[in-house]
């Protein structure tokens, strides 16, 4: 009968999913304590969250589907940026650049939206495609630099984030009729808004991006788990040398993985711009989806469905922010919980160290006992 402590440790090393659940609970726990410490009522946070995921307002006793719609809208770019981070991570790369790839996608989508002929059906499709390609190019550049010149992808993606941010401003500001924060209105044919989805969710901003996000999760799941490409990417991530020995072109894998990762983030940019806004955006600060995407992928263990779930979780925190504020809970508690969750993920490595140490101790004790027994036996003889 193993002891409870051993069991907990076993869970921590045995299942990725349970670790994620544990760090999220831990994050909420510390967040709750923090709210108590500053003399506010944590119930406000939980009732805000309940309202976001179910539409129920406990204080008024009313139900409004719009909250659910807005929750999903907030989750979509997080899921996609999480997939971007995750796709690279499975290939052994650390993609801090989802933010830049997102900006590249957003910018490309806006240009196509404003300059492509307004053909219904085709217009938005071209804008989406342009965003996916722009994101893929932005990520692919980093992959190529890593593969060809062994430039660290961590430093390179951080640089590319800022190049994208300022580059997007330079280009977008040249569009006639643009002021410092927005372009002229985007044509209706380029937009992703769906009267049906809006109607079911009581006029939320829920849009066709929902189906694109679901398609992206499915695409990720199939590519990673069910194809030869996914196999060679994962092999590269697990052990580069072994993959090379096995006949996999590691350099091609790295560039491909970063390009596909960028494509996911680029799509996120298009969905935010064409789905949620009626005019193109001139970005002055980063939206932060890229960094949030890192947290999403880490909690989702870089799996398709895990990332989708964790994106919904963080989207829930994000869209609960204004509600928390109205209940006297500082909305930044959600960023704190996110940050804590990422820091706690480090615990995982820590638990491994504790187990190793325990096993060594056990072995040492066993050996001590054995030598003691042997010397005793020798004495008697």
């Amino acid at each position: 009968m193993p002891k409870l402590k051993d069991r907990i440790l076993e869970v921590f090393t045995g299942s990725d999913g349970l670790v994620s659940v544990a760090v999220v609970i831990l994050g909420f726990l510390v967040g709750t304590i923090l709210i108590l410490l500053v003399g506010r009522n944590p119930a406000g946070m939980y009732s805000a969250i309940l309202q976001v995921v179910s539409g129920w307002d406990l204080r008024r006793g009313t139900q409004n589907m719009r909250y659910i719609g807005e929750w999903i809208v907030a989750s979509m770019p997080l899921i996609l940026c999480g997939l971007s981070m995750g796709f690279a991570a499975r290939t052994g790369l650390f993609n801090i650049g989802a933010e830049g790839q997102y900006v590249a996608g957003l910018t490309a989508a806006q240009f196509v939206a404003l300059y492509f002929p307004q053909v219904p059906g085709l217009h938005w499709l071209m804008a989406i495609l342009a965003a996916i390609i722009a994101g893929a190019v932005w990520g692919g550049i980093v992959g190529f630099l890593k593969a060809r010149f062994s430039v660290s992808e961590v430093v390179a993606t951080i640089m590319m984030n800022y190049i994208a941010q300022y580059g997007s401003r330079i280009l977008t500001m040249r569009i006639p009729g643009t002021n410092t924060f927005q372009t002229p209105p985007l044509p209706v044919t380029s937009r992703l808004s769906s009267p049906f989805l809006e109607a079911v969710t009581n006029n939320s901003r829920l849009n066709y991006g929902l189906f694109l996000t679901i398609a992206a999760v499915l695409f990720y799941w199939i590519i990673m788990g069910r194809t030869r490409l996914g196999y060679s990417l994962r092999a590269t991530g697990l052990n580069k040398e072994a993959a090379r020995y096995g006949g996999i072109s590691v350099n091609t894998s790295i560039t491909t993985a970063m390009a596909i990762a960028g494509a996911f983030a680029g799509l996120a940019g298009a969905i935010v711009s064409l789905g949620s806004f009626s005019a193109g955006r001139v970005l002055s600060v980063q939206d932060g989806y890229g960094f949030d995407g890192i947290a999403v992928a880490l909690v989702g263990n870089s799996s398709a469905w895990g990332t989708a779930l964790s994106g919904l979780l963080f989207g829930m925190l994000k869209s609960a922010q204004p509600l928390m504020q109205s209940r006297q809970i500082p909305k930044e508690i959600t960023s704190i919980i996110m940050g804590l969750v990422v820091v706690f993920i480090s615990l995982r490595a820590g638990v491994r160290i504790i187990i190793e140490w325990q096993m060594k101790e056990k072995a040492r004790k066993a050996q001590n006992a054995a030598t003691a027994g042997a010397s005793e036996g020798g004495h008697h003889a």
């Binding site: 923090l34 960094f291 930044e332 960023s335 820091v343 995982r348 490595a349």
Partner: protein, 304 residues
């Protein structure tokens, strides 16, 4: 041409004001990476330092005469304390250094504004009346502080036995350990120093370039410092040069409207320049690896 030189000369005080915090944070980043730990949390640590400094100064400005030095001190302490999280996760727990750094950056975003909400009931600190005053030659004293920190870092790294050990911890920690040196302790000290310096850098920014702390006070300068470390090839003189170049480029972005020859260019070009330069040099010098060899890898006693 002469006109441009004159304008650049007149810009020198504001350039130095922008260079100083980049140089201080980059010095910390360099020390940390030379000891083998990558610190992408510089941005978040600077933010925490800036918030701590602004809060201290706002609250004590009118009641005591030394609130600015005190603000710098508190910023340094807070930076060092938060860096301990990074040290514990990445050294003791051998977690991925980039993940732990990202966690701190996310955490800093929330924590700084959270405390502003509590103390000032808004998402930034109150304004203070007077920040750091400029001194000799129109330059802020922070420029001298930055120079002193850089020289001290150079002296310690290259002229002290402890500096040799620190560099060895980033090149070949196992060899250092076999010489009987405690690698973990050295790495801890290096990470905390980088946190202290990032905290001071954040205080420099908020007390010279601003009148309050907001969530956009740091706005990527921590990542510029990180770029300055790579572009400066992990050398004191190198990061002095790169910080100066990046600072001048930022100053140009601010002052571009005053320069006739450059007026027609978008100011964003100069904001973008440091990142482009760093990326290009990383590619050009990719053949030779200047980065500390063990940088980014957890120290594992068992590995040889």
């Amino acid at each position: 041409m002469l006109d441009i030189l004159k304008i650049l000369w007149n810009m020198l005080p504001s350039t130095l004001m922008i260079v100083a915090p980049i140089l201080i944070a980059a010095t910390g980043g360099m020390i940390c990476e030379r000891a083998g730990v990558v610190n992408i949390a510089l941005e978040g640590l600077m933010s925490i330092g800036a918030m701590a400094a602004a809060t201290t100064h706002v609250l004590l400005e009118t009641s005591i005469g030394f609130s600015i030095p005190l603000a710098f001190f508190i910023a340094a302490v807070m930076g060092g304390l938060f860096a301990l999280i990074h040290a514990f996760a990445s050294i003791t727990l051998r977690a991925d250094q980039v993940i732990s750094g990202t966690g701190i950056n996310l955490l800093a975003n929330g924590i700084t504004v959270f405390f502003c909400q509590l103390l000032f009931r808004m998402d930034r600190t109150q304004n203070y009346h007077m920040g750091t005053k400029s001194g000799f030659g129109g330059a802020y004293p922070t420029a001298w502080l930055a120079l002193i920190i850089l020289v001290a870092a150079w002296f310690t790294l290259y002229r002290r036995p402890w500096g040799l050990r620190l560099r060895a911890a980033g090149e070949h920690p196992q060899a250092l350990a076999s010489a009987g040196v405690n690698v973990i302790k050295i790495r801890y000290i290096a990470v905390v120093i980088s946190g202290v310096l990032a905290g001071i850098a954040g205080a420099c920014i908020v007390l010279t370039q601003d009148i309050q702390f907001t969530v956009s006070t740091i706005n990527g300068k921590g990542f510029i410092a990180l770029a300055a470390v790579s572009f400066g090839r992990w050398l004191p003189l190198g990061i002095l040069g790169s910080s100066f170049l990046f600072g001048a480029s930022s100053a140009l972005a601010v002052n571009i409207i005053n320069i006739d020859a450059l007026k027609s260019l978008p100011s964003e070009i100069f904001s973008m320049l440091p990142y482009v330069i760093t990326l290009v040099t990383l590619v050009i010098f990719s053949g030779k690896d200047y980065a500390p060899r063990a940088s980014g890898q957890p120290y594992d006693k068992g590995k040889s």
